[in-house]
Symmetry: C2
Subunit: 240 residues, 2 copies
């Protein structure tokens, strides 16, 4: 699958969907929270609606209509909107903070920790995520992700797929974009990275959106690598 | 030693001197390089002179006389100056890149890796260094430092001891400065951190400057913690 390319110094990973199974993690936590508080809702639908507000909220920032705002704040605003819509407007500040931070407590896909541990022996491994630094740091720590460095939208002050999000990551590592590889479960993210000269690896996560998954079942571009999971990527990249 | 203070979320570490023994590491590598190339010099003096240009080179940036410039570039310029002064102006580009990157290959003090590993079980641990992100990432990887996050002058775009260097680190972690503790072997760095509201821990490194050490043998401020090494700090902070 590998084409003739420069050797890679750093593998940077999309996080939501590629590294962590945000949907099932959040449904499980919201369901438990609702049961404990006696709040009834279709928590799967609530979770999908929360994620549904993700792109529109970032688009306000990408477009320049809104000043730079970190994802924790966008998540909180979207949560507040949904709580009001569901008649849960009476929930207090501590609960809202706790629920917003569910994005710091997501579970990883089963292959992730072992795969990253192998990849780390040969490459710098880090994030290239729209999550803010605090979110990614706490998530990595909660899950036990052995990142060498935490990069992304906040260190670039640009949300993916804006070109600066990818360029800034390579610049902060002091390498040419061609010596960085984005690993992602999303063809659109990889296409944007490839346009900036990064190498690309596609890892399918066909259950990310549960029964609503419509795209990203397979590679739709000429990516540098395509692998079934992080362990198989480590095999292809010659990691012990 | 602990005063009544808020609980801490993150321990951020000064790196050069506090985590790594830059002086003996660089003397050893330069001595070996000189022997291999037949270049004669007092490499200890060369190393001290290189470090001697560190503060003046950053001061050009701090003062605003020079646009933001990362430490790898400052190190390289200082190296070029010293090579010329020593009559080694004929050294080629590859050698200069290799020598500049000696700052990516420094050895840690003996207590560091075990101490950080314990501290990491209870706190976010990361850098708060004037090194650039690429330098700190590679140094951490070479030494096996288990950082959760890499922060410092470059993510703040301000060199310590400017206030923004400390403020930006807390902001990127989404916590109040009082919930961050700077761990450093330098009283001046701790004083600047304390002025921005960070907690402080002093770890003496009395051989950092070898026979030329003149300051920082002991705590000179009312620091939150004072400990003999990272292991003793972990003891004081109640880490298993």
């Amino acid at each position: 699958m590998a084409k003739s390319t420069p050797s890679v110094d750093a593998l940077l990973f999309d996080v939501f969907g590629t590294v962590v199974d945000w949907r099932s993690s959040i449904i499980a936590e919201l369901t438990e929270f609702g049961r404990a508080r006696g709040l009834e809702a279709d928590w799967a639908k609530f979770t999908d609606a929360w994620r549904g507000l993700y792109q529109p909220s970032m688009e306000e920032v990408r477009s320049g209509r809104r000043a730079w705002t970190i994802l924790d704040v966008l998540h909180r605003e979207s949560l507040d909107t949904l709580l009001a819509q569901h008649g849960f407007g009476g929930l207090g500040e501590a609960d809202r903070v706790h629920l917003t931070q569910v994005w710091h407590r997501l579970r990883s896909w089963p292959d992730v920790v072992a795969g990253l541990t192998r990849l780390k022996t040969k490459f710098i491994i880090g994030t290239l995520s729209n999550g803010n630094v605090g979110l990614l740091t706490r998530l990595g720590k909660n899950v036990g992700l052995p990142w060498d460095v935490v990069l992304g939208a906040e260190t670039a002050r640009a949300y993916k797929p804006l070109p600066e999000a990818y360029r800034a990551a390579a610049r902060l590592l002091n390498v040419e974009p061609a010596r960085v590889m984005l690993v992602a479960a999303h063809n659109g993210d990889l296409a944007a990275a490839a346009r900036e000269g990064l190498q690309t690896a596609f890892i399918p996560r066909p259950t990310e959106y549960g029964p609503h998954q419509k795209v990203d079942f397979k590679a739709e571009g000429d990516w540098t690598y395509v692998a079934g999971d992080f362990g198989k990527l480590a095999d292809q990249l010659g990691c012990a």
